[in-house]
């Protein structure tokens, strides 16, 4: 099965949101692997690049809503790193694979599901 998404989920927002999606039996595509992190700010550029090197079709970083990061600046830093990563990929003409950041709160399972659906659609359309 191709087109796997690697999703780094912060334990204060996205991870519980994904859990809640499960509890509510909300469905989303199977091709996603969640890696739990204490804060989106823990995710480093090399983690994203290595996931892409391994062959991931997309890499997502999911953290708390703007202004509501449990660790104040974690989600802002994650956003900057995702931006930087996209720049690095563009430099070497590898910008066909989405690397994106999503912000959500722990009680927003629908946001988690729609992020996964949105990216899966982009992957399918780009033919990976």
């Amino acid at each position: 099965m191709n087109g796997c998404i690697v999703a780094f989920c912060c334990e204060h927002s996205a991870y519980p949101a994904a859990d809640l999606a499960g509890k509510l039996r909300l469905h989303y595509p199977e091709n996603i692997r969640v890696i739990r992190v204490p804060c989106a700010g823990r995710v480093d550029v090399i983690h994203i690049l290595k996931a892409l090197e391994k062959g991931a079709a997309a890499v997502l970083v999911l953290g708390c809503e703007d202004g509501a990061c449990h660790h104040i600046t974690g989600n802002t830093r994650a956003k900057e790193r995702v931006k930087y990563c996209n720049m690095l990929l563009k430099e070497v003409q590898i910008d066909g694979r989405p690397v994106a950041m999503f912000n959500l709160s722990p009680n927003a399972p629908h946001k988690f599901v729609s992020a996964v659906n949105e990216i899966t659609k982009i992957i399918k359309e780009s033919g990976r």
């Binding site: 480093d44 090399i46 690049l49 290595k50 090197e53 690095l88 430099e91 070497v92 003409q93 590898i94």
Partner: protein, 219 residues
């Protein structure tokens, strides 16, 4: 410390084009601290190269290593075995480190991945500014600790040029502060404005003969 900046990616890719196995070598001192050439930057650059070359169908194998200071022969010597395995070395160290690497491993082409820019310090997170030009004839005693050689766009020694813009900004680059305004204010705080009235004769630009050599008194 020495501040460096990664070279444009096209230059690096072009340099690496003929090679299939390279060592990406970082330095753990100055360039690591200014986020240009430390272990993390080595990892990222190596990953970028692998991704790019893999997409072209022309794989590249990268070895990665970072030594504490690439300008020390003993530390660079530790990389002997890794260098032996590769066709070329891509060094993220400052010019000093690149040359040490090149000298120790004369048979291998060594390429710089960063441009060494200046001696500076962090002004705020992620922003480094030039402070010292290594001119060999320090005048900071007379200017309240603000260097007119590099912080004044014209390198003037005897006061402002007269083109200072409103808000104390430089005539040449309005984003930058006029160094002489800064110097005046600093000396004013210290009650040493008399220094502004002293005339300093033109610099002896031969103060530092290139290449420079400094012999320390033996300890």
């Amino acid at each position: 410390m020495i501040i460096a900046e990664r070279k444009p990616m096209e230059e690096i890719e072009q340099a690496m084009a003929p090679y299939k196995k390279v060592l990406v070598a970082g330095c753990g001192t100055c360039v690591a601290v200014c986020w240009a050439g430390g272990e993390k930057e080595v990892e990222i650059l190596a990953s970028q190269l692998r991704l790019a070359r893999s997409a072209e169908g022309n794989e590249i194998v990268t070895l990665e290593a970072t030594v504490e200071r690439q300008c020390e022969k003993e530390m660079v010597a530790e990389l002997k075995d890794k260098v032996a395995e590769v066709e070329a070395v891509l060094s993220l160290a400052c010019g000093s480190g690149v040359q040490t690497m090149a000298e120790l491993f004369e048979d291998k082409p060594v390429f710089p991945a960063v441009n060494t820019t200046f001696i500076g310090m962090p002004e705020k997170e992620g922003l480094w500014v030039e402070m010292c030009g290594a001119c060999g004839d320090c005048v900071l005693d007379r200017t309240g600790g603000i260097c007119p050689i590099v912080r004044c766009a014209k390198g003037l020694l005897n006061g402002p040029c007269g083109g200072t813009r409103k808000g104390g900004k430089c005539e040449i680059d309005p984003e930058k502060d006029c160094a002489w305004v800064l110097i005046y204010r600093r000396l004013e705080k210290q009650g040493r404005l008399d220094l502004m009235r002293e005339y300093y004769s033109p610099r002896n630009f031969r103060a530092v003969k290139r290449p420079g050599r400094v012999q320390a008194v033996k300890a």
